[in-house]
């Protein structure tokens, strides 16, 4: 088992004819993901190395049975593409695009929330990797192998760093889910923690957060009430000054809200261990795994 993407995933890539879209669609396919189609308006009928391209998501879903969408189009077109995928019946949408206007994200989020059983991961995320099964997005799969640690993170490269530290201690992963660094992520830590809690393959969960917003504090409450599996957390941004956006649109300390210290305290207050460095996260994970036998 894994969460969200696996061997049943049938992926349609929006923006497949763009440079990045082509590169990552083919990369995902060579990993073993079933990349069944792509969408680029005006390029219907063409193909990208054998992957058929359609003008609309509706055509792609009808013709190729796509059940998962990956959005790679530029920011100004991304909200529209996400809404189109939902309208065409796709139930899992993974938006890689960085720089989508916040008000677009707000409308998309509230629209999708009013719909049944559609899930958005991202935007501004590296995607999802279920080692040995499927890779949807830009996560460099070669660093990860199959295993029992579920990882959920707001960041891309930091996830690779933590994943690498875990791998050096012999851990593999059930799935690695990047929820993205924007202020309005389609899925929260809580949504993904619930999936890992229900996934029989996942025995330990690593959650990597950062400054800004209150998603980590909310996750702390949720873990205390609803997660039975051990969780190790990491928070980036202890040295971030107030009022400055640290790269990710969502990574900003506003007044006393959203600080790393506050988040770590909220987690530790619920008995969740927080590693102070990526290395320490892996050490704590190893310690917990040892005690699990």
């Amino acid at each position: 088992m894994a969460v969200l993407v696996d061997t049943d995933t049938r992926l349609c890539v929006s923006g497949i004819t763009g440079r990045e879209g082509t590169f990552h669609a083919l990369n995902n396919r060579s990993y073993g993901t079933q990349v069944v189609s792509g969408v680029t308006p005006g390029k219907g009928g063409q193909d990208v190395d054998g992957i058929p391209v359609f003008n609309t998501f509706h055509d792609a879903v009808i013709e190729t049975g796509a059940n998962t969408a990956m959005v790679f189009v530029p920011p100004r077109f991304a909200a529209d593409s996400i809404l189109e995928a939902e309208d065409a019946g796709v139930r899992l949408i993974i938006a890689i695009t960085e720089g989508i206007p916040a008000h677009d994200e707000l409308r998309v989020y509230n629209h999708l929330a009013s719909r049944q059983s559609v899930r958005l991961i991202g935007p501004n995320c590296p995607g999802i990797l279920s080692p040995g099964k499927a890779n949807v997005g830009i996560i460099p799969a070669s660093f990860f192998k199959e295993g029992k640690v579920g990882v959920v993170s707001r960041s891309g490269t930091l996830t690779y760093q933590i994943g690498n530290e875990l791998a050096q201690r012999g851990f593999g992963n059930s799935s690695i889910v990047g929820i993205g660094g924007d202020p309005v992520p389609g899925s929260s830590f809580i949504d993904v923690l619930a999936l890992f809690e229900a996934d029989p393959e996942t025995e330990l969960i690593v959650m990597s957060g950062e400054i800004g917003g209150s998603a980590e504090e909310e996750a702390a409450e949720y873990i205390a009430s609803s997660v039975t599996k051990p969780v190790v957390a990491y928070i980036a941004g202890f040295t971030a000054p107030e009022g400055k956006t640290m790269g990710h649109a969502g990574a900003i300390v506003s007044g006393v809200a959203g600080t790393a210290a506050g988040k770590a305290a909220a987690l530790e207050g619920k008995g969740i261990r927080v590693g102070r460095t990526p290395t320490e996260v892996a050490e704590i994970a190893a310690e917990i795994a040892g005690s699990l036998g």
Partner: protein, 379 residues
């Protein structure tokens, strides 16, 4: 992107939010002419992106031309907590009977705009919230239906406004919401929102944060950048398309990916060092971007040592090595560098660096080791 008070007021005015008549000025002559035009008494207000302007002497009432001239002379060029005043805003003085508070914030937790209204204005709203949260009326708005009359009524009644103010304050909030949505703001705040002796309502201050990601749809707003308030390295980085934040320390930092860079700053601080900057060279950084980033980092005279922390995913470590080698070829580098390359093409990258044998460049295998090394070198 934060706007100056007057930029916010002009933006409000475009959407019908009532604001005092006023005019910006960058010179003494302009300021006096504006004051004459507006008439006396008028208020001369320093335009800087920092609070406490009044206490610092940056807001003065002028009763006549002489006062306007002496106030404008004192305020233009004044330093307010590290920010130099390059511009003033001159506006008609208002007859203030009551000071209220109104704002619309982007509530990330609820994923909806949150509108706040309180009769306790003119002071820090955080203080009011601490003293008695019930003094602040709050309503979430579904962005798919927008701000409705009932939202306005609820806010006005819950805040305890007098009956005659329910309609005018409600109308002001509706216009404020329109400005928030149409201009794609992340925050609009009016503190104080005043009631005059004649019971008119007016936005006496304006704090606006716009979403930088939406500026492609708002070319006029994109022009509003207040570059004079930006730090020189941040300005230089922006021109080169790099994500850079200035910090107080002496260790220059470059990494790829916002999360990893934030984490690198933390690890350096834990090792006893003080980072001089946040610099995310981004995913898939090419050699030119790296060279350009080194230039920005070294432009800060405080930097005593530099740490490169790269975990290659889309970014290729050999490209990073090429960029660093080029930077050493084109710049005069006087400080030591510690380089940690891991991930995609790391072996090639490390070999390139070893072959180039750059002076004062040290490679480390781990993030922690690299952080400790750079802290030692900066001492």
């Amino acid at each position: 992107m934060d706007l100056l008070e007057y930029q916010g007021k002009l933006l409000f005015a475009r959407h019908g939010v009532p604001v005092p008549t006023g005019s910006p000025a960058t010179s003494l002559e302009q300021a006096v002419a504006a004051a004459d035009e507006i008439g006396y008494p008028c208020v001369i207000k320093a335009q800087v992106l920092i609070g406490g302007r009044g206490k610092a002497g940056g807001i003065k009432v002028a009763r006549d031309r002489d006062e306007a001239e002496s106030h404008a002379r004192a305020i233009l060029g004044m330093d307010i907590r590290g920010f130099t005043v390059h511009e003033v805003w001159i506006e008609a003085a208002s007859d203030i009977a009551e000071e209220y508070y109104a704002s619309i914030v982007f509530d990330r937790s609820a994923k909806k705009p949150l509108v706040l209204l309180s009769k306790e204005g003119g002071v820090e709203i955080e203080e009011v919230a601490q003293r008695d949260p019930s003094l602040i009326a709050q309503v979430h708005v579904d962005p798919l239906i927008g701000f409705q009359d009932f939202h306005a009524r609820r806010l006005a009644f819950e805040a305890g406004l007098d009956a005659d103010l329910v309609r005018p304050v409600g109308a002001l909030l509706a216009k404020l919401y329109e400005a928030f949505v149409r201009e794609e703001a992340l925050l609009v705040e009016v503190n104080p929102l005043i009631v005059t002796g004649e019971r008119a309502v007016l936005a006496l201050d304006a704090k606006v944060t716009l979403d930088e990601n939406s500026l492609f749809r708002h070319p006029d707003n994109a022009e509003l950048r207040n570059l004079s308030a930006e730090d020189p390295q941040e300005q230089m980085a922006k021109e080169r398309g790099l994500t850079y934040v200035s910090l107080d320390g002496d260790i220059g930092i470059l990494g790829n990916g916002a999360g990893l860079v934030m984490s690198t700053l933390d690890v350096v601080a834990q090792a006893g060092g003080a980072p001089a900057n946040f610099l995310d060279a981004g995913g898939g950084s090419k050699a030119e971007a790296i060279t350009s980033a080194v230039e920005v980092i070294l432009n800060n005279p405080n930097v005593k040592a530099v740490l490169f922390n790269i975990f290659g995913g889309i970014t290729r470590c050999d490209e990073v090595a090429h960029g660093l080698i080029e930077a050493f070829g084109s710049l005069e580098v006087k400080v030591p560098f510690v380089v940690r390359l891991d991930g995609t093409n790391d072996v090639e990258g490390r070999k390139l660096l070893a072959d180039a044998d750059l002076p004062n460049v040290y490679t480390e295998a781990t993030m922690l080791g690299a952080a400790q090394r750079v802290v030692e070198l900066a001492r």
